[in-house]
């Protein structure tokens, strides 16, 4: 055990910190759930890419720096510590990227990954269907082989920012008669293809954060398939479930709001302390964010030793989603009567966006596998309890 950063790691931290200091947007970008904000974020991603900071873990030839996970954690710490913009293309970069790295052909990697790192292509995921939410294996959208193409028919939903995106990826049933996990194929679909209709879904915050995607005889060339035909489930699940979960929610993403929460608490301590649960909660989320960070460093070390990490990713999912909720609930309690005001309200005194974060935190325990499902997984796979 050695908890000191190497000189190389320290130098990398300083470089990232300096670059962000010089390049951060002067003012806060608009929400990336709006067309305007989406493009602003794309610009920012290009800037990151040019500094080879958009995907630091990717190999140099794909636009990255070949960083290890420790360096990635350092990057995230500096990135979120500087309140840098949210990552608009992470569904592509963090969900699809690793899958392409592991299962993609050389041609596919060259074709898609650099443009993904540069956000020349923006990606939306197309997993869920109206009747396949927590029960992902219930997917019914079909992609039937027709020569060197697949013909896609069906509907996907909850596709984040799909109305602005260029491409979508997901699982489709390539064997019409197959059931559950079998007969699925992993396909990449250009969203400007003929037969694709995208209908926005208005989220809690009133923005078009999601979309439904309808496929009507959409023809997709076979080379857009990742992995073997019918092996889609394996391809989708195989790629480092744990690592992917961690990438999507790095500890810095929670340590920063906790810092802000402590500032908020100290600035309002006299009124906040009338409700003792507030101080208790502030202390508790501080501890929660710290242990989440410590757990991440520990896991990264175990991965570096070649250990496999399994059901712990379900624990991670529960921890960060409930932590995020508690951080924002506590902030709302401190804000009290002014907490309900939108950022557009003149009397709004919340310059950090606690309300937006509070709304977004409501989704945490639901998406990426509802926490009830995660608890089942922990009990059955980690503790070995019998299935119902």
């Amino acid at each position: 055990m050695d908890l000191n950063y190497t000189p190389r790691q320290q130098a990398f931290r300083q470089e990232v910190r300096a670059w962000l200091k010089d390049n951060l947007p002067a003012q806060k970008l608009a929400s990336y759930d709006t067309r305007e904000g989406f493009e602003q974020h794309r610009e920012w991603e290009r800037k990151l890419f040019e500094a080879r900071l958009s995907m630091v873990m990717w190999p140099e030839e794909l636009g990255g720096r070949g960083c290890d996970l420790i360096e990635w954690l350092i990057f995230e710490e500096e990135y979120y510590g500087a309140d840098a913009p949210m990552r608009v293309n992470q569904n592509g970069q963090l969900l699809l990227g690793p899958t392409l790295m592991e299962f993609g052909t050389e041609a596919q990697k060259k074709r898609f990954l650099p443009r993904m790192a540069a956000s020349d292509d923006m990606w939306a995921q197309a997993w869920s269907e109206p009747n396949a939410g927590s029960d992902m294996a219930a997917i019914s959208s079909k992609a039937i082989r027709d020569g060197d193409h697949y013909v896609i028919n069906g509907q996907k939903t909850w596709s984040t920012r799909a109305i602005y995106a260029d491409w979508a990826f997901g699982l489709f049933r390539s064997d019409a008669d197959s059931k559950r996990h079998h007969g699925l194929s992993f396909l990449m679909v250009p969203l400007d293809a003929e037969g694709v209709t995208i209908r926005p879904i208005k989220a809690l915050n009133g923005k078009d954060a999601f979309a439904e995607i309808f496929f009507d005889n959409v023809r997709v060339p076979v080379e857009n398939r990742i992995g073997e035909e019918g092996s889609g489930w394996h391809v989708a699940m195989a790629t480092a479930g744990f690592e992917r979960g961690l990438l999507l929610r790095s500890p810095a993403r929670f340590q920063q709001p906790v810092r802000k929460l402590i500032e908020l608490y100290k600035a309002n301590q006299a009124t906040a302390d009338r409700d003792p649960s507030i101080r208790e909660a502030v202390m508790d989320v501080w501890a929660g964010a710290e242990s989440y960070a410590l757990s991440a460093y520990q896991s990264v070390g175990r991965l570096a030793r070649g250990e496999k990490i399994g059901a712990e990713s379900s624990i991670n999912k529960i921890i960060w989603s409930e932590l995020d909720l508690k951080i924002h609930e506590t902030a709302m309690r401190i804000l009290g009567a002014r907490g309900e005001l939108l950022s557009s309200a003149a009397q709004n005194e919340d310059d950090y966006g606690w309300l937006e974060g509070f709304l977004f935190a409501q989704a945490g325990p639901i998406y990426a596998g509802a926490n009830e499902i995660q608890r089942n997984i922990i009990a059955e796979r980690m503790l070995g309890l019998p299935k119902a």
């Binding site: 869920s128 009747n131 939410g133 927590s134 029960d135 219930a138 909850w158 879904i201 208005k202 989220a203 809690l204 009133g206 999601f210 009124t271 906040a272 302390d273 009338r274 409700d275 003792p276 649960s277 507030i278 709302m332 309690r333 804000l335 009290g336 009567a337 002014r338 907490g339 309900e340 005001l341 939108l342 557009s344 309200a345 003149a346 009397q347 709004n348 309300l355 509070f358 709304l359 409501q362 989704a363 325990p365 639901i366 998406y367 509802a370 926490n371 009830e372 608890r375």
Partner: protein, 353 residues
């Protein structure tokens, strides 16, 4: 000792509920909330016809002369159907303030009659609330200047609207100049009236939060009974059952707390402030849990604008800190229960024995 409602009281509540079910359906509310004023004179008139605006008006002034206990049932209906602030603030809080004014206030009786017939909208600017709800279209606003009560006509105030996450809310910053013409009570007369207004406002919000909790529970029960995953209704999964059972428990045990608080206020129990703050917290916790577990069992659907749950969640998050936030009410509870000689232990439940 009888801690129940009469059949008449229940019948009136049910009549109001049936009326609002048809007149204040979610689709209708969404339309109303999207208008500039966010209010519907038509709906307001219909509510007046139902007697809602006359509830607290003394019978001599053409009202029903009902008290806080009756309102503890009404406010639950207002919450359940997401009726905006203006009605309760006018017909309950402001009306009780005006009724408490000395007869010498010339407009007093006239106002009460207009309230009863539903032709008056009054907003209340109590210092506990940073902004004034529905001042934008009030005929006049009751405002506090160094403890005095001023009745200031809309024409004499400037209003800055502050949008809330709750689309039903119309929160205004009110700019005005106090003068003797608008003053209807000096600070000595005003003090107990402002204190009572705070307690009624808090009680009104508590009742609405409890109604909101019940609405979110009902919406959730309906959803999980029909939504299927893994080949069966998700309402058959134990985790989902327990989420909703916990909400039902919170609601059941918040109800009598609300009713005692209303009774204490109506009958001048010296512990009324304690009971009201307890009700505000208990009903707020029930609604908060109903929102959290409601969206959880709704899954992604609960995160959408389209599904009605969001209307009631947002109103819950707004009202939780209205007419006193948790800190305000917990401070009042602490002051009471940690005081020497506090009414603690068995036998104190309905007054010091």
């Amino acid at each position: 000792m009888d801690f129940t409602f009469t059949d008449d009281e229940r019948a009136f509540q049910e009549a109001i509920s049936r009326f609002l079910m048809t007149e204040a359906a979610p689709e209708a509310l969404r339309e109303i909330w999207e208008t500039d004023s966010g209010r519907s004179p038509d709906l307001r008139n219909k509510m007046a016809e139902q007697g809602l605006t006359a509830l607290s008006v003394p019978e001599v002034a053409g009202g029903l002369g009902m008290g806080d206990v009756a309102w503890s049932l009404m406010t639950q209906e207002l919450g359940y159907y997401g009726i905006p602030d203006s009605l309760a603030d006018t017909a309950y809080v402001a009306t009780s303030m005006i009724a408490a004014l000395p007869e010498s206030v010339s407009d007093r009786n006239g106002w009460l009659e207009q309230i009863a017939e539903g032709s008056l909208r009054i907003a209340v600017g109590h210092p506990v609330n940073p902004l004034v709800a529905d001042a934008h279209m009030a005929d006049f606003v009751l405002l506090n200047h160094e403890g005095e009560i001023h009745a200031v006509p809309r024409s004499l105030i400037d209003v800055e609207q502050n949008p809330s996450i709750d689309s039903s809310r119309r929160l205004c910053r009110v700019m005005w100049e106090p003068n003797s013409a608008t003053r209807i009570a000096d600070a000595d007369t005003g003090a107990p009236i402002w204190e009572a207004a705070l307690n009624r406002g808090a009680l009104s919000v508590a009742g609405q939060l409890l109604g909101l909790a019940q609405r979110m529970l009902d919406l959730s029960v309906d959803y999980v009974a029909q939504r299927k995953q893994f080949g069966k209704p998700i309402g058959s999964f134990q985790a989902v059952k327990h989420h909703l059972a916990d909400v039902a428990g919170k609601i059941e045990f918040a109800k009598p707390v609300l009713y005692r608080a209303a009774y204490s206020l109506q009958h001048g129990n010296p512990d009324a402030a304690l009971h009201i703050s307890q009700a505000h917290i208990a009903c707020g916790e029930a609604a908060h849990l109903a929102a959290r577990h409601g969206i959880q069992v709704h899954g992604a659907m609960g995160y959408t604008w389209e599904v009605d749950l969001q209307m009631f969640m947002k109103r819950t998050w707004a009202l939780e800190s209205s007419w006193g936030d948790h800190g305000f009410h917990k401070a009042r509870i602490s002051d009471a229960i940690f005081a020497d000689g506090a009414p603690l232990g068995p036998g104190q439940t309905f007054g010091r024995s």
